[in-house]
Point group: C2
Chain length 110, copies 2
Amino acid sequence: MDSIEALSAFSALSQSTRLDVFRLLVKVGSQGLPSGEIGERLGVRQNTMSANLTVLLNAGLVRNEREGRTIRYFADFETMRGLLGFLMEDCCGGRPDLCQPVIEEIACIL
Amino acid sequence: MDSIEALSAFSALSQSTRLDVFRLLVKVGSQGLPSGEIGERLGVRQNTMSANLTVLLNAGLVRNEREGRTIRYFADFETMRGLLGFLMEDCCGGRPDLCQPVIEEIACIL
DNA sequence: ATATTATATCAATTATTCATGATATATGGA
DNA sequence: TCCATATATCATGAATAATTGATATAATAT
């Protein structure tokens, strides 16, 4: 992850529909969702959703796979990992107590 | 953290100077940096830096403290925690292996 | 009080981004 | 082949955001 990619990712996440889409895809996890269903669930028109999915795709935050006529989208956890690592780089120098709560926040509690 | 706050934070991080500022403040940690020194280190004009710091401030990503004539800025790890938690909410439903690498990426290795 | 230093705000121009109607492409079915 | 469905692209007007010169405020020093 470099600065250009990170900017692209943050920019993608800084718009309401796209943030909703990404969080939805994070929740559904590895099974992903078809483009059309994402649009229906969020109440967004077809071409608007398509444009927003393209932005997320270019930012590397989502992947897609064609499946017959529909195209299924998935959150890309690898990019997420790179993005958070980039943002928190060297965060712990001398004060791991600052960083620790951040880690705990996203820790899986199952 | 709600959607409005998250959008404000991502929007703040989606600009080159501000991303640099935030990462710098993450690195220096609890001692923070005076506004002027941030500008010098990043080669950004005074009023541009001031405007960008205000954006980060309004997004809750940084805090500041007056210290005589200078104003010292700090990364706000609490907001960071809320932001990442919001983004990864329910990420682990059924597949913690997707989420685990993301956590490991920001884990403190000292 | 006046000057100096540090930072913030204002106004205006330029540049980006967004949603949308219209249209194009791609797949599957009849 | 022709039609229907699913998704993507294009062009454009409207809204937002970025940079900057000029100026204002706030704290310290003389």
